[in-house]
């Protein structure tokens, strides 16, 4: 069976500085992988390289997504094929209403996949349902995307987008940062509802806390641009106790 995501020897640099240093990772359908690591290890860089953010130069390795060459695709194509990145810092887009954005994104993906586009009322119905599950005030959907949203609201909005777009692979970059415990629970519940046999997840986090709510199958330690250790969910607890110091020195 082809892996959902297969990263081999991935090297990437930005502004002439090498950040990813030969990274290997395999994620199969149905699996949740946690990636933990110290600040500056390259966790966000990995998520950006996977989603195709401009500015990164791939200097080595390959990435296949459902057997296809991910790195050859434009960001919108990757999304339509089922890759979703929940941003660590969701952006504010003044002048673009949240609902318009959601509808445009959903229908653009459907169109690219050769599926029928959904009518505005259909999209609205789905969005309202999800908003309710995520305790998002429907009034917020009329506001410009993320503008004036609190940190927690932005993360819930990311989760809503993810649920609406039903991706094959979810990459969550520090979805827990800036969330109080109630918001964390709401977001984690939202993510857990998306657990499915044909869907994989990469949960990037600095802290173990999130993994109490989203329980991973595999935990990796990312340091200096490489996976330096892989284990079960108990590895997260171990890291919580010992910190990242040993991995930092190991990598250096």
């Amino acid at each position: 069976m082809t892996a959902l995501l297969e990263i081999r020897g991935l090297k990437a640099e930005i502004d002439g500085r090498q950040i990813l240093n030969g990274l290997d990772l395999i994620v199969n359908k149905g699996e949740i992988h946690a990636i933990m690591g110290p600040n500056g290890a390259g966790k966000s860089t990995l998520s950006y390289v996977l989603s195709g953010k401009p500015g990164y130069e791939i200097t080595g390795g390959e990435v296949s997504f459902n057997g296809e060459d991910l790195l050859a695709m434009d960001p919108d194509e990757r999304a339509a094929k089922g890759l979703f990145l929940a941003f660590q810092y969701p952006l504010e887009i003044p002048g673009v209403a949240t609902l318009t954005f959601l509808r445009t994104a959903l229908n653009a993906q459907r169109k690219k996949r050769g599926e029928e586009e959904l009518s505005s009322p259909d999209v609205l119905k789905r969005v309202r349902e999800l908003a309710k599950q995520l305790s998002i005030d429907p009034e917020m959907l009329k506001r410009p995307l993320n503008v004036g949203f609190s940190g927690g609201e932005k993360k819930r909005n990311e989760t809503l987008q993810m649920a609406l777009l039903e991706p094959k692979l979810c990459v969550l970059d520090e979805t827990d940062s800036g969330l109080d415990i109630d918001a964390l629970r709401i977001v984690a519940d939202g993510v857990n509802r998306l657990r499915a046999a044909d869907r994989g997840m990469i949960v990037i986090t600095h802290y173990q806390r999130l993994l109490d709510y989203i329980v991973p199958d595999v935990v990796h330690v990312l340091s200096a641009g490489r996976i330096v250790k892989t284990g079960g969910k108990e590895l997260a607890l171990e890291l919580e106790a010992t910190g990242y110091a040993q991995y930092q020195s190991e990598a250096a």
Binding site: G52, P54, P75, F87, T104, K112
Partner: protein
Amino acid sequence: MNAEIRPVKTAAEIGLADLFAASCASLPGGRNIETVRRGAFERFVAQGLPHSRVEAWRYTDLRRLVRDAKPLASRPDATAKEAAGIATAAFANLGFRRLLIVNGAFVPELSDLADLEPGVSIRATVNGLDADDADGVLDGGDDVATALNTAFAADGVIIAIDPGVVVTRPIHLAFVTTAATPAAMFTRSSLKIGAGAGVTLIETHEGPDRSDYQVNTALRTIVGDGARLDHVKVTSEGGAALHIATLQAEIGAEAVYSEFGLVTGGAVVRNQLFLKLAGEGTIANVHQASLLAGRQHADITLTVDHVAAGSQSREVFKAVVDDEARAVFQGKITVRQGAQQTDARMMARALLLSDEAVANCKPELEIFADDVQCGHGTTTGALDDQLKFYLMARGIPEKEAEALLIQAFVGEVIDAIARDDLREALSGRMLDWLKGRE
């Protein structure tokens, strides 16, 4: 000697002089009108075509941009009228009172003049000229573009609304050029709104893409005390056209004046607006959007003159500039000594979509009163790559992502249009423009 040395006359200036000499006697009007025309043309000759050393025309050098004078357009024949009727679909289904001006001539038989609201009068400018009465027809305006307009004006529309009459059905002046051969059109219109009256006036200007024509159009409006004017001007001339438009507005006390301008077409466009907030407590809102591509050049030049106390003005200008196009915005707010408690703000923002695109923004304040709130600002920038990536990461293709961001940028000025039907129609125009980019 430091007397100003007149530069050598350009081909266009010589051509205009020949044209005036040849046509002055046959232009509509009697002796009075002819005197006014000659005076205006002399004023033009004294200044010549404006060039970049004339401050008000700094970025729009007509000596360079106008290569020659075109022959005056002849009054439209049956074919031209028919073509015009078909050509102008703009706002056709919105039920507005449409008045058609073809090749510079008002065409009553193709205009909707039925069931005029009591207190509203509409007539052709040529009738006013033929009556040889310059008052209310050719008055106002001493700038060079208006001087040329006065010299050559052949027709247009004169609208008067009695005091207290609120006209709910918008009036649409549809200016259409059908001329396939190079021609010049000079139209002069007037709108007088009595105290406490109100109206929405829409102007659209369009013409064929491949025709090298020139339009000089002028509108003078007097908005009475407590009256309301919503004025919308859509400049979507053909791709080779020169379009010079002058709006002069004198706005009375407690009157509310809203201006919306959209420029999408024309090779060279100069829209100049001279607003005089003549009374106390007047409100003026001006929103402008220029969507430019290719080698288009569009200049919006605006002066807002706060004469009396307690008036308010807002000016928001947005330009989206692609390819090698150039957007110009010059805005000057003057606050006279007596205009205490003036509240005036001006903002110009340009979005440049290519490395060769240019925006020149020059807002100015000239304040002679001490108790006022005034401000202005400008920004110029490219599309935000981070925002574009965020949209693309959600599956939105690049061009569509750009379109969304451009729409968001222009949205603020379009949202200022009060009427839903107009706002939607103009959003549609913007979307058409965006589609043209794909």
